[in-house]
């Protein structure tokens, strides 16, 4: 691995010392097929001499065998190790290459091929400090250039190298370069790049790669390598406000409680005032703990553990931030999404959203438009397909702390995970938080059951309480409704009191009337579910067949049978309405449990036993069931 430095042979200790101070740069190369991307990367690897002799002799042999460059070395072969994988159908989103010079270590994200281009390039660009956009000098700025620039800008890359390659084929003509440079600057002005550096190159001949070339005496900028070795990066991230997304709560013993994470941006010093989000509790930094000793100060990119002066409750996924410049906290925002899966993104479908260390259920509440990567045209859409980019409103089940991606990549990015397969299906970049009032744009959707449910951010269902008179149905249903209401759910309870006096006042207690009573209640409950509500019904509903009938009225998962199981002696003893007394005295006929049967559910979804647990505990059990079965965390309806 012959490095160029003479120090290696002369004074290895001095060399190592110098090497240990090197910085690192990550960049991405973007180009269309045949622009010379592989040749360029191969050339950088080769010229930084990070190539072993056994690899080199293999390269020379391959080059001759392939004959692509006559007797010359074909540098592209150095990086093209993925042909076999491609044939096997292995997805290569990005290949990472490494090389280093005496000044820097480099990680190159190389995104091969053009199918899946958006997804691949976005992946490579997400971690890149700089992008090298390759342009064939003979062809100038093309559609692809726009696409590449757009994706770079979307992912927040600020520094662009416009690498005008194959200058040897245009006689190193300065006018060609100037024209391309001018074209590109006009066209890129809306992309928000901080710096565009145009370099005339020949990857094949090595012009302006490492050294300035004699073939372009008119060019007064840096060689590509000189640029890469000296470009300033990471300063913006350090200048931004302090953010530490908590990754792991560090509790080795009862006396130490630290918050471990990587500083996403800014700097932090011992004694600095902080605010923890979303709770908004405040404290000060007591110590910055690392294995190598406590620090006085830590900066963006460092993995640290913070301890605080006060005992405040912070858990994984919370963000510790500068007290006076905290991030926003919201559960609804606008974001740009890049879809990465064969199954299209559908608004309203529940997904998981993972931001810095926090995973939260939610859904896309509105797809405003998609953006064509080639023309940048905005078009209306009902879904996002693989490799499409859309501007969306997102609603989460709970609030998160975040920054706009443009201000802070680390706290403004998220990935989208499919809840069934657990795969990553998309990624997003937050633009800004939405005020509730401004975020409901339903014109794109039909107003149907799921639209209504989505609007309420809930999953509608009927909790069908069945049990003897006095078993506790209404009491428990009441508590459950209060709990759901407190969580912001839209609810309604149907019971004897509000149904018998109106809708069903014509019905008595014969078996036929009981059946009709339940049928009507079932139909009303169904309408309410259609309206997007969570409905509690509290009726003895003694017959299995009728409960079955109601079950069959509803869609899968909308009917939850709750058996309030109380022995008849207990009910008779409680006798809240004095009915058991009357029934015993023969004053009421057809009383369930006496002269009318109660058919216990065989497989109720929830079975509460009030003789063993009080009403609150029974309500707990029901809420727990709802949580475990996704009735309370789904943000959005039943679109799938």
């Amino acid at each position: 691995m012959a490095h160029q430095s003479d120090l290696i042979a002369e004074d290895i200790t001095a060399y190592l010392k110098a090497q240990e101070e090197k910085s690192m740069l990550r960049f991405i190369t973007c180009g269309s097929v045949d622009d010379g991307k592989s040749t360029l990367i191969g050339r950088l690897l080769y010229d930084s001499k990070l190539i072993f002799e056994d690899q080199l002799s293999a390269l020379e042999a391959d080059s001759k065998k392939m004959g692509t460059q006559g007797q010359e070395i074909d540098f592209a072969l150095l990086v093209d190790g993925l042909a076999a994988e491609r044939e096997q159908g292995i997805t290569i989103d990005v290949a990472y290459r490494f090389f280093s010079t005496d000044k820097r270590k480099f990680i190159v994200a190389d995104t091969p091929g053009h199918e899946q281009y958006t997804r691949n390039m976005a992946t490579g660009a997400s971690t890149a400090d700089v992008a090298i956009l390759l342009i064939d000098a003979r062809r100038g700025v093309l559609t692809q250039t726009r696409r590449h620039s757009f994706i770079c800008s979307l992912l927040g890359i600020k520094r662009i190298v416009l690498a005008v390659n194959k200058m040897d084929l245009v006689d190193y003509n300065q006018d060609v370069l100037n024209e391309i440079d001018a074209d590109y600057r006009t066209f890129a002005k809306d992309f928000g790049f901080a710096e565009i550096t145009t370099i005339p190159l020949s990857a094949l001949k090595g012009d302006n790669i490492i050294e300035k070339s004699d073939a372009t005496p008119w060019y007064d900028g840096p060689s590509l390598m000189h640029y890469l070795e000296t470009v300033q990066v990471g300063d913006a991230r350090q200048a931004a406000d302090f953010r530490l997304p908590v990754q792991w709560v560090n509790r080795p013993n009862l006396d130490f409680r630290g918050f471990s994470g990587t500083v996403a941006s800014g700097t932090i010093k011992v004694g600095d005032p902080i605010k923890a989000l979303p709770s908004a509790q405040e404290s000060r930094v007591k110590s910055i703990v690392t294995y190598d000793g406590d620090l006085e100060e830590a900066v963006a990119g460092e993995a640290i553990t913070l301890t605080l002066e006060d005992e405040i409750d912070i858990s994984r996924g919370d963000v510790i931030a500068a007290k006076d410049h905290p991030p926003e906290v919201a559960d609804q925002f606008e974001a740009k999404i890049i879809w990465m899966h064969d199954d299209a993104m559908l608004p309203g479908r529940p997904y998981l959203f993972k931001t810095a260390n926090k995973t939260i259920p939610g859904s896309v509440t509105d797809l405003k438009h998609k953006i064509n990567v080639n023309t940048l045209a905005k078009t209306a859409a009902k879904k996002l397909e693989l490799n499409e980019i859309g501007v969306c409103n997102i609603g989460l089940d709970s609030r998160i702390a975040f920054d706009a991606y443009g201000d802070n990549k680390e706290t403004g990015a998220f990935i989208i995970i499919d809840r069934l397969t657990n795969t990553t299906v998309g990624v997003g970049m937050i633009d800004f938080a939405l005020r509730r009032a401004s975020n409901i744009h339903w014109q794109a959707l039909d107003v149907d059951k799921s639209a209504r449910a989505d609007q309420k951010h809930q999953r509608p269902a009927v909790l069908w309480f069945t049990g003897l008179s006095g078993s506790g149905k209404s009491t428990i249903a009441n508590i459950v409704e209060k709990r759901l209401f407190a969580r912001g759910r839209h609810t309604y309870t149907l019971d004897g009191d509000n149904v018998r006096h109106g809708l069903n006042q014509d019905l008595g207690f014969t078996d036929a009337d009981r059946v009709e009573n339940i049928r009507r209640v079932g139909e009303v409950a169904k309408l309410m579910v259609d309206a997007g509500l969570m409905v509690m019904t509290s009726f003895i509903s003694p017959f299995r067949a009728e409960r079955r009938m109601v079950h069959d009225l509803m869609a899968e998962g909308e009917f939850i049978e709750v058996f309030v199981d109380t022995p008849i002696e207990v009910c008779a003893e409680r006798d809240p309405k004095g009915l058991y007394k009357k029934a015993k005295a023969g004053e009421i006929k057809n009383f369930t449990g006496f002269d009318s049967p109660y058919e216990e559910p065989e497989r109720a979804a929830i079975h509460v036993k009030t003789a063993e647990a009080d009403a609150e505990a029974c309500a707990d059990q029901i809420i727990e069931y709802l949580e475990q079965h996704g009735y309370l965390n789904a943000n959005g309806g039943n679109r799938d």
């Binding site: 690192m24 993925l82 096997q88 190389d110 080795p252 990587t262």
Partner: protein, 301 residues
């Protein structure tokens, strides 16, 4: 004023972030500890990641019973010094069947004593995430590897079913039965590893440094006679030569290089001036035509 993090600090921070993420999300993680230099660095970074806590996972070594004796001693001392739980797994059936590199060939030996044994160990303890020290620069085809690599319940790697990885947001959610291999050192190069060992003074087995050792020459490679299980050919006499190892594994499968480099600096110097890549000393790479991909699909790390 901007404080520039060195490349080693950035790599270290990235590895720490990955390790913490797994500790937070996996139910039962483990660190595969192979006693080599990459494992040494990985373990050192793990000590940093959770400090002042200890890493919240045990170390697992799959012992083929043919490792250099010094590796075993070194391994036990490391675990003891650091106060970490060390699990050693040996494929006892393989031992009973007398599997060795000499009788079964390197490919079969590795398969039975390493690949199969690793799967059995992961199943036995129910580990759902396993850290490995593999790097992307080890081989051209590793360049595209994910940091989080998902395996089916049968430990198979499905190349078509791997997840996009953007930023530092890793999706660690698994389906029932699935497990993850996590490579926190993906972006380190061999040179980074050595520089970091040097900078941080990380202990490594002295096999990496040159010493006079008993070796025999076979097919142009030098092999150390580490114990008397090594069958010698007619007239073959171990010779004492100054050698060191560039990678560590089963001694009958690990070629030595002749060298006078007996300090870490000298080793790094030699490596920087050398002309052959790291994997040359590994017999398994030459042994079969099967690609790395195939081995990985079968569960070789």
């Amino acid at each position: 004023m901007t404080k520039t993090l060195t490349h080693l600090k950035r790599l270290e921070a990235e590895s720490i972030q990955i390790m913490r993420e797994v500790a937070a999300e996996a139910e039962n993680p483990v660190m595969l500890y192979s006693v080599g230099k990459d494992s040494a660095v990985m373990l050192h970074v793990a000590m940093k990641a959770f400090y002042p806590s200890k890493p919240p996972f045990p170390l697992l070594h799959v012992d083929t019973t043919w490792k250099f004796r010094e590796m075993i001693e070194f391994r036990d001392n490391m675990a003891k010094d650091l106060g970490l739980e060390l699990l050693v797994h040996i494929n006892e059936e393989g031992v009973k069947a007398g599997v060795s590199p000499f009788t079964h060939g390197s490919a079969q030996h590795t398969d039975i004593m390493k690949t199969q044994a690793l799967k059995a160990a992961l199943d036995k303890y129910g580990f759902d995430a396993a850290f490995g020290g593999a790097r992307r620069d080890e081989e051209k085809s590793r360049a595209k590897e994910r940091v989080f690599s998902f395996r089916s319940a049968q430990h198979r790697w499905d190349p078509k079913n791997q997840r996009p990885e953007l930023w530092n947001l890793y999706n660690a959610r698994k389906n029932p039965g699935e497990s993850i291999r996590v490579f926190p050192m993906s972006n380190w190069t061999e040179l980074d590893i050595w520089q970091y060992i040097h900078l941080e003074n990380i202990p490594i087995p002295s096999l990496y440094l040159s010493k006079k050792r008993p070796v025999v020459e076979r097919d142009g490679q030098l092999f150390m006679v580490d114990d008397d299980r090594m069958p010698l050919n007619e007239g073959e006499e171990p010779m004492m030569k100054p050698v060191r190892f560039r990678t560590l594994g089963c001694y009958p499968l690990t070629g030595a290089v002749e060298s006078e480099a007996d300090t870490l600096e000298d080793v790094i110097q030699e490596m920087l001036l050398t002309t052959s890549s790291e994997r040359q000393g590994r017999v398994i790479d030459h042994d079969s035509a099967a690609s790395m991909e195939k081995k990985k699909q079968e569960g070789y790390f």
